[in-house]
């Protein structure tokens, strides 16, 4: 064990810090889930990141990345959150589709999709879920049928993050008549294709975080199938493991939130009841524990280890940490907590983050599913 950064790692941190200080927006961009303008402002930021080669830092250099290992990625993320830089509209590309393309894509597919993704020219929505398939993803029923050199897609997707304003989407489609995990293929399709209709779903606070996608005889070239025909489940599981596990929630996010919470408490903590200080300290500890645990996991993976079912513990821990931390922020705000916009207070953001946190135990496999996974695959308890 060696808990010091190498000189190269320190140099990376310094470089990232300097670049972010020079380039990160000084005022918050408006939400990419609320308006086209907000979305495009975030696309612009993706382009700026790309111009500094800070967009896809874990990708290989040939696709616009820096080939950073996970420890280095953590360092970059720490600096990114320290700089209060914008949330990544490109997230589905960076963490979900990008790595999947690199693992399962043909050279032609990689050349076609990865650079455009890195540049922010094509921003991706995910299209996993369906009305009858939530935590039970194998129940998807949207279909794919080959017709000459094309695929024809039909069906309905739901809970597609970014789909309202994004350019492309990727999703699982089924050969008609196939059952459960068989006959699935992962298909990429433009959200502008004829036959695609996108209906925004408003989150409880009005942000269009999700959308439904209706597909009616949508025609894409066979080129757009990622992985083998019928191999969609395996491809998708590799992506989902990635999503659940290490990558989606970087510890810096919670460390920054814990820091904000400490500041808020210092500013307003005069008569908050005696337990509040303990709660603030506990959240800070949990954020720290999450960071240490991710460093440990990153060290293992960088050395060639595989991410296994223990990633489910991550999902549970960060999602509960997030809710608790945001809730304590609201608690400190007291009767100001319910304000949707903090016109004068300078105390904004807690409510948004709280609402966002409520989705944590639900998406990417509900925490109930994660607990099943831990008990069966980590602890070895019998399935039934």
């Amino acid at each position: 064990m060696k808990l010091e950064y190498t000189p190269a790692q320190q140099a990376l941190r310094a470089e990232a810090r300097a670049w972010l200080e020079a380039h990160a927006p000084t005022t918050a961009l408006s939400s990419f889930d609320l308006t086209r303008e907000g979305f495009e402002a975030h696309r612009q930021w993706e382009r700026t990141l790309d111009s500094g080669r800070w967009g896809m830092v874990t990708w290989p250099a040939e696709y616009g990345g820096r080939g950073l290992c996970l420890i280095e990625w953590l360092i970059f993320e720490e600096e990114y959150y320290r700089a209060d830089a914008p949330v990544r509209v490109n997230q589905n590309g960076i963490f979900l589709l990008g790595p999947t393309l690199m693992e399962f894509g043909t050279p032609e597919q990689k050349a076609r999709f990865l650079p455009a993704m890195a540049r922010g020219d094509e921003i991706w929505a995910q299209a996993w879920s369906e009305p009858q398939a939530g935590s039970d993803l194998a129940a998807v029923s949207s279909t794919v049928v080959q017709d000459g050199d094309d695929y024809v897609l039909n069906g309905q997707k739901i809970w597609s993050s970014r789909a309202v304003f994004a350019d492309w989407a990727f999703g699982l489609f089924r050969a008609p008549g196939s059952a459960r995990h068989q006959g699935l293929s992962l298909i990429l399709f433009p959200l502008t294709a004829p036959g695609v209709k996108v209906r925004p779903i408003e989150r409880m606070d009005g942000e269009k975080v999700f959308a439904e996608i209706f597909l009616d005889e949508v025609r894409v070239p066979a080129f757009n199938r990622l992985g083998e025909e019928g191999q969609g489940w395996e491809v998708c599981m590799s992506t989902a493991g990635f999503e659940r596990g290490l990558m989606l929630r970087s510890p810096a996010r919670y460390q920054q939130a814990a820091q904000r919470l400490v500041k808020l408490f210092k500013a307003r903590g005069c008569d908050l009841g005696q337990g509040m200080r303990d709660a603030v300290v506990q959240h800070w500890m949990d954020a720290d524990a999450y960071a240490l645990s991710v460093y440990e996991m990153a060290s293992r993976l960088d050395a060639g280890g595989k991410i296994g079912p223990e990633s489910s513990t991550n999902k549970i821990f960060w999602s509960e940490l997030d809710i608790g931390l945001q809730r304590t922020g609201l608690e400190i705000l007291g009767p100001l907590a319910e304000l949707a916009a903090h016109q004068d207070t300078g105390l904004g953001g807690w409510l948004d983050d709280y609402l966002f946190s409520l989705a944590g135990p639900i998406y990417a496999g509900s925490n109930e599913i994660q607990r099943n996974i831990i008990s069966e695959r980590v602890l070895g308890l019998p399935r039934r």
Partner: protein, 351 residues
């Protein structure tokens, strides 16, 4: 000693509940959001028809002269459907305050009949809820109570994430003409209003918890995953069973606080605070459980869970923060007689 609700109380609760169910479905709530109207005039008419605006007002003022227990039961029915109209603050807090301060106020009669709405700017709350539709607002100046016509105030909207809580900062000029209670009386009236606000928030919170549990149970019965209703999963069952436990041990506290409200001593104050803490905790927990059981759909504006999430969160910090109420309980616990023979210390059981 009899903890059962009277026939009249049960009948009142049933009547109000039925009206609420008929006029305030999820579809009604959604339609109101889309309409941009501040409240539903049809439903307000029904509320008037039942005499609810005047429920706690003295009979001399044309009210029904009901007690806080009745108020809590009505509040519970309102919470159960996440009622948008400001009935509870109007009828439960503002009218009793006005009736105590200035029983001959013109607006009191109109308020009791539901023709005019009253808003209240209590010092414990940073904003005045629903001031825009009020005919007059009760406002503090130091400890004084002022009754200010809406024509004499300037309102600045502060957006609550609860679309049915329209919050305002109020600018106005205090003067002798608007003063209806001096500082000495006002201090007592504001304190009583805070307790009443807290108690009725607790009543609403009971309803919110029940409404959220019902929503989640109904969904869990029909939503299928892995080929069977998600409600067959022990994980889902136990989440909801826990909510039922919270609710079961909050409701008797709220009822006892209401029944004992008039006493106004530290035992009764502590129980109101306990009621607020327990009921709001139950409402917040149940509304979050509903989101979790509904899954992604629970996060949306289309499903009803968010009405419960928002109101539960707003009420839990309104009418005194958790810290304030915990301290009010602590004062009883550390300063007064406690122990097994002191559940009802004024009931002849002083230890």
């Amino acid at each position: 000693m009899d903890f059962r609700l009277s026939e009249e109380a049960l009948m009142l609760a049933e009547t109000v509940e039925r009206m609420m169910w008929e006029t305030c479905s999820l579809a009604n709530l959604r339609a109101l959001v889309l309409s941009g109207e501040p409240y539903d005039r049809g439903r307000w008419g029904q509320i008037i028809a039942l005499g609810l605006p005047g429920m706690l007002a003295p009979v001399e003022a044309g009210g029904s002269g009901l007690d806080e227990l009745a108020g809590v039961l009505v509040a519970e029915a309102c919470g159960r459907v996440a009622l948008p109209e400001p009935l509870i603050e109007h009828a439960g807090v503002a009218i009793p305050l006005l009736a105590a301060a200035k029983p001959d106020a013109d607006v009191l009669t109109a308020a009791v009949q539901g023709e005019a709405q009253l808003a209240i700017g209590h010092p414990a709350n940073p904003f005045v809820a629903n001031a825009d539709t009020a005919e007059a607002i009760l406002l503090p100046h130091g400890d004084e109570v002022h009754l200010v016509p809406s024509s004499a105030v300037e309102l600045r909207r502060h957006e609550s994430f609860d679309e049915f809580r329209r919050l305002f900062a109020v600018s106005w000029n205090p003067g002798a003409a608007t003063r209806i209670a001096d500082a000495s009386l006002g201090r007592r009236l504001w304190a009583k209003a805070l307790e009443r606000g807290a108690l009725l928030a607790a009543g609403q919170a009971l309803g919110l918890a029940k409404g959220a549990i019902d929503l989640a149970v109904d969904y869990a019965k029909v939503r299928e995953q892995f080929g069977r209703p998600i409600g067959t999963n022990q994980a889902v069952k136990h989440i909801l069973a826990d909510q039922q436990v919270h609710l079961s041990f909050a409701r008797p506290v709220v009822l006892a606080a209401a029944a004992d409200f008039a006493a106004g001593d530290n035992v009764s104050l502590a129980r109101v605070s306990h009621a607020k803490l327990a009921a709001c905790a139950a409402a917040e927990s149940a509304s979050r459980a509903a989101v979790q059981v509904l899954g992604a759909i629970g996060m949306t504006a289309e499903a009803g869970a968010h009405f419960y999430v928002k109101r539960a969160l707003a009420l839990s910090a309104a009418w005194g923060t958790k810290a304030f109420h915990r301290e009010q309980v602590a004062e009883r616990v550390f300063e007064a007689q406690i122990g097994p023979a002191n559940t009802f210390p004024r009931g002849g059981a002083a230890a």
